[in-house]
């Protein structure tokens, strides 16, 4: 600043600050409100009012007026700042819109039938069009199948990630990384077919069960766990590993007692995301656990098992009004289960947080 040659109009103040004015602090808010009102008025006058044109026209006129006003009063840089700010907020709202819409639709439609009765009874002995029955058997199936899939894929995925980060070198590392990437891209129905074929080979045709479903989900889940855990483990700095080695701690203890606890929060989040990814899978479950089970079955190794996504699918296919209600209520249940999982992940994250 001291090297500025040009003389500013007010020598006491910083020349860069003093050269332009600024819009009042409340100006954007007031402008937005008036734009919304004016656009609504114009649309009503032409009796063409609709939510979408109203929002779009308001956003466009607000941005144009704000940026023009800012360019005249505040200068070029501030105008650019206002433009980008408006764009970023716009994109944020755009991204949020489908999310809110989905949630709202599911809650709105799902609440019709979502009650303790729905959560506590199965479809055993209930005809599809009867005003009775619930999703208890599907909840049981979803929890059992996803639980087993998690039990299989978390240890394998985590150990694979530890191997990749801490031990693997050169060609083996590249090969494993490549195959994990390929696995990430496997279509879920192919994973289901793979397990069905395996089951036919091992146990003969028609013997698929919940365990087969869990295994097909594990095939989908392992690469996701590997990739997210790998990234989390790489975040643990070399300094910490070296600090541990320098105390005469062997590598395996360093991994189990320093690296894993330090990244525990991130690992948990990654695992939860992997669970959320497979809990809504439908295709492999239809192939393996079947789509016609109506009774409660906790046994993963015997008989067909219903699950929430398959329940939704089969109810929608039946097509009656009561079936749609059941499907929406089951969708709401599924979303609630995922939210509960993320809440649990938060709790775990808090318990492991380094700086409490």
């Amino acid at each position: 600043m001291s090297t500025t040659i040009r003389q500013s109009p007010e020598p006491d103040t910083d020349p860069l600050e003093a050269r332009h004015g600024s819009l009042p602090r409340r100006f954007p808010l007031a402008l937005l409100a008036s734009c919304a009102a004016v656009v609504a008025g114009v649309l009503l006058a032409f009796s063409a009012f609709g939510a979408l044109p109203w929002v779009l026209l308001t956003a466009a006129s607000f941005t144009v007026i704000l940026v023009t006003a800012s360019a005249r009063v505040e200068g070029h840089r501030h105008a650019a700042d206002r433009l980008v700010t408006a764009l970023v907020y716009g994109c944020f709202l755009l991204a949020l819109a489908p999310l809110v819409s989905v949630l709202w639709t599911v809650i709105d439609n799902g609440l019709d039938r979502f009650d303790p009765y729905f959560l506590s009874v199965s479809m055993n002995g209930v005809l599809p069009s009867m005003d009775a029955g619930g999703a208890y058997h599907a909840i049981v199936g979803t929890l059992a199948i996803t639980g087993m899939a998690t039990l299989i894929s978390v240890p394998i995925g985590l150990m694979c990630a530890v191997y990749l980060v801490e031990y693997a070198q050169g060609r083996i590392k590249r090969a494993i990384t490549f195959f994990v990437d390929v696995m990430t891209g496997i279509p879920s129905i192919v994973a289901g077919l793979f397990i069905v074929a395996l089951w036919i080979m091992l146990f003969g045709p028609g013997r698929t069960n919940g365990a087969a479903a869990a295994l097909s989900l594990a095939v989908l889940m392992i690469p996701v766990v590997v990739r997210s855990s790998e990234e989390m483990l790489q975040l643990v700095s070399r300094d910490l590993r070296e600090a541990s080695y320098a105390l005469g701690v062997p590598k395996w203890r360093t991994i189990t007692k320093v690296v894993l606890p330090t990244s525990a929060a991130g690992l948990t989040t990654g695992i939860m995301l992997a669970i959320a990814r497979v809990i809504g899978e439908t295709a492999p479950l239809v192939l393996t656990a079947g789509s016609s089970a109506v009774s409660i079955n906790w046994d993963l190794f015997d008989g067909q098992m219903m699950s929430l996504p398959v329940f939704i699918y089969s109810q929608v296919r039946m097509g009656g009004a009561v079936n749609y209600e059941r499907a929406w209520a089951a969708a709401l249940t599924l979303i609630l289960i995922v939210m509960l999982l993320f809440f649990l992940a938060r709790v775990i994250k808090y318990l492991f947080a380094p700086n409490r």
């Binding site: 300094d239 080695y245 320098a246 105390l247 005469g248 701690v249 525990a264 380094p354």
Partner: protein, 259 residues
């Protein structure tokens, strides 16, 4: 407790690249030895070979002999893990374990190795180590707080306490003060003076005043030429090295005529 280190004919490689060539030196027990030299001349690399830390880098290895008292740390039946238990290390950047409290950081060496220890023995070890690191008075009321909640200088002293709590005979310090303010640096230097009564201390530093202040003996490293490996140029009593060095190269470096 302190032990003598005898290095003879040590070459350090990163894969095919020879980083440090043919170093022989004796490091006396109960004294401070400083390594000086320009960046990239291999003094940190050489320091890390004294507790086999350089092996953590993939592809790095060393040839030659390093005797700590009578133990050849590169002998065929020597486990690097036991070497590191004997030769502690303090790093350039303070690195307390973020998941652990101050208390747990100090006894991390025992805890991470699942060594059983009674509550009172652990308490005593923590107090002794923190007192030894001139940190006890500052943290005794908040031992349960995370180690990362301390200031940079305090964290570095915590790391020194952690290193001494495993009772090593040698303490290696890799530019321990380069990220610290003058007051914290002074605190660490005072500590080094105190620690040398019990340990063999080797310190790498870029600060020549610091080398002159804390060390008894000084070793000067330099590159043999651009792209050539680092070499030990000269080693001697610090007072002599800084007043009447034998080699022209050393004199140039110390008087600031190059590097």
């Amino acid at each position: 407790m302190a032990k003598r280190i005898d290095v003879s004919g040590l070459h350090v490689y990163y894969g095919d690249f020879l980083a440090v060539e043919d170093v022989s030196m004796t490091i006396e027990p109960r004294s401070v030895t400083a390594f000086i030299g320009s960046s990239g001349c291999g003094k940190s690399t050489f320091l890390r070979t004294l507790n086999r830390m350089h092996e953590v880098t993939p592809g790095a290895y060393a040839q030659g002999k390093v005797l700590i008292d009578d133990m050849d740390i590169y002998g065929p039946d020597i486990d690097p893990v036991t070497v590191r238990g004997q030769v502690g290390m303090v790093f350039q950047k303070a690195n307390p374990f973020p998941t652990m409290s101050i208390y747990d950081n100090v006894i991390a060496g025992a805890r991470l190795n699942s060594r059983r220890m009674s509550r009172s023995a652990a308490d005593d070890l923590v107090e002794e180590s923190l007192r030894g690191a001139n940190l006890w008075e500052e943290v005794k009321d908040r031992l349960g707080k995370p180690g990362a909640s301390l200031s940079g200088g305090q964290q570095q002293r915590l790391c020194i306490a952690r290193a001494t709590a495993v009772k090593p005979s040698v303490l290696l310090m890799d530019e321990p003060c380069s990220a610290l303010d003058p007051i914290s640096t002074l605190a660490i230097e005072d500590l080094i003076h105190k620690l040398k009564e019990d340990y063999t201390i080797v310190i790498v530093t870029h600060n020549m005043q610091q080398a002159a202040r804390v060390s008894d003996r000084t070793a000067f490293f330099n590159l043999a030429g651009p792209g050539k490996p680092g070499k030990l140029i000269e080693m001697g009593e610090t007072s002599q090295m800084f007043t009447r060095p034998e080699k022209k190269e050393t004199e140039n470096y110390i008087t600031g005529r190059f590097g």
